[in-house]
Amino acid sequence: MSSPLLRVEDLGVSFATAEGSVRAVDSVSFELRTGEVLAIVGESGAGKSACAMALMGLNRSPGACFSGAAWLGELELLAVPDAALRRVRGTDMALIPQDPLSALNPVQRAGDQVVEAMRAHERVSRRAARERARALMVSVGLPAAAFAAHPHELSGGMRQRVMIAMALSCQPRVLIADEPTTALDVTIQAQVLALLAELRERTGAGILLVTHDLGVVAALADRVAVMYAGRLVETGTVDEVFHDPQHPYTWGLLGSTPGLAGARGERLAAIAGAPPSRLGPDAGCRFRARCPHEHAACAAMPELAERVGPGHADRCWLPVDQKRLRREHGGRIGLEPRGIAA
């Protein structure tokens, strides 16, 4: 196995707010390898973006506090100064944002923004950069006219393609895609996903895919990390997590996603309740308040451990056989309560 492109160890991110310090991300660890797509899934507010932005240093601010380590090759991303981080942004690590309209500068032409990304790192003439940018934009499926267009003149899918072209402009090894399809309508989503899949094949880049949509995960990812309230609660291959999910929160997610858990368009079971506050210290498993299977052991925080097998880890105290028993409801996975554990 090759050494990972990106290795995150025990990452913590907290923000100072008027109410106190909010722990957006807590002891998150994962690895991303060449040509691999790792998806981070979780509901809104889970800390997915905070985690991704911390890697690029884009949420550094006087009120933000980072702990742990993140290695991009030999470079420790959390420790290096802004100037050094700037050199890897765009070249080794690039961002594909959620909302391509607000992420594009409204007063600059699309092509110029791609050219700017190229020339930020490489000594190329404006002319050569323009040629390359034009070719790159065509290669991600944009019409030639898009080069000279302003963002507001492009459709949503085209804007996201511009962002992708911009991200690819210096052949990054790691792509961080923060909900790349959320702002797009369904048919465009499929096109953009296909484009990302093709890119991974062609360039061998590792993609860190942030999403709350398990459909996107199924379409693109190799491995998944499920995040809940700032912590990873389950990690494994897509196959493992989708077919042998270990954490009740994952069951809930799978149960509430149509077309995944073998459902035939039945009513979706959304997970009742809201995530806990992340101001004070933890009182046991963070999913407790919403978990129908909560029991005495849950008063202590479970570790993220490989309980079923190598590579597949979860953060739940239930014994594996209990998990397998409780997650099935008439042949589909879900979180409906079925008796409270002893």
Partner: protein
């Protein structure tokens, strides 16, 4: 574009008309000292007075008087009630002075306001940002003529660094021209720097939290480039419109206080002195000139908007 210009032109005619009526009525509701007597001068004969009365329509109703005066505005025959001098010539004499003040000051205040506003936005939350913000508040809180008088006294009179008021034409001696104008430029700019840097600061702070600024950082651009290429250009839009209007107003003689305190003898000072003598024709002319520049610059601003922000189309304005 054409229809835009036509509409703007029509609006300008309307505004100028309304402003001239307003000016004319302000001075005609008050006893005005029989302008025909004042115009005829000291060695007047009753025939002369009668001729002037007839010519200007002073013996007829307000509407006729207004119409005659306006005709004289456009034929260039307007003369002062006070001393019979030709208003057109006086204005032409004052315009280069006013223009010199306006152009220099407008460049100075825009450049410094951008620098100060950007700095205080980037440094916000720190002492240096707080201090620059405080400076800007002091800038907008000082009366121009007071600052001007103090500068004139301490830097001009006591230290002897600058001439004590007055004006030298640019064509005569560019250095002396600038030397005479440095204090007026500075005094007038202080206020505007305060206003503009405050507006710019808040618009920069808004822009900095935009997604596309994050994108620019994600591309690996240097912080300076992010600021100039992505933050500044988008933040300039609100102050460009202020700038156009204020520049237009100063061009049209709006900087009366600065012109007066430095005795520049520009059109603004001319208007203020004419008001003092209840001399309607010069006031009328200068007001219309001022409004003309304001409306023209307003149009220029709209065009600039469209240049700065491609989402705005001229035709739709």
């Amino acid at each position: 574009m054409l229809s835009f210009l036509v509409r703007r032109l029509a609006a300008m005619v309307l505004v100028l008309f309304a402003i001239s009526v307003l000016t004319f009525s302000i001075f005609n509701v008050i006893p005005n000292g029989e302008p025909e007597n004042r115009m005829a001068g000291r060695t007047q004969t009753p025939a002369q007075v009668e001729a002037i009365r007839r010519e200007w329509g002073f013996d007829r109703g307000m509407v006729v008087q207004y119409a005659t005066t306006m005709r004289k505005v456009f034929t260039g025959d307007l003369i002062s009630y006070y001393n019979g001098s030709r208003v057109g010539e006086e204005i032409l004499r004052g315009l280069p002075r006013t223009f010199s003040l306006a152009v220099g000051a407008a460049l100075l205040w825009m450049a410094l306001a951008v620098a100060l506003g950007l700095y205080s936005a980037v440094r916000s939350g720190r002492l240096s940002g707080w201090l620059t913000g405080a400076l800007a508040v002091i800038g907008i809180s000082m009366p121009v003529f007071w600052v001007g008088a103090l500068m004139n006294h301490y830097l001009g009179f006591e230290a002897g660094l600058f001439p004590n008021g007055g004006y030298v034409p640019l064509t005569e001696d560019p250095l002396a021209w600038a030397h005479h104008l440095i204090l007026p430029w500075t005094a007038l700019s202080i206020l505007f720097i305060g206003v503009y840097s405050r507006v710019l600061r808040s618009s920069v702070m808004d822009t900095m939290s935009e997604d596309y600024v994050r994108t620019a950082r994600a591309k690996g651009l240097s912080e300076g480039r992010v600021l100039v290429r992505h933050v500044l250009r988008n933040s300039l839009i609100p102050i460009v419109s202020l700038w156009g209007l204020d520049f237009g107003a100063v061009l049209g003689g709006g900087a009366i206080l600065t012109e007066t305190v430095f005795d520049l003898q520009g059109v603004g000072q001319y208007a203020a002195e004419s008001i003092d003598q209840l001399d309607v024709p010069p006031v009328l002319a200068v007001t219309m000139l001022g409004a003309f520049f304001i409306v023209v610059l307003n149009t220029v601003v709209d065009v600039l908007y469209a240049v700065l922000d491609p989402r705005i189309r001229i035709g739709r304005l």
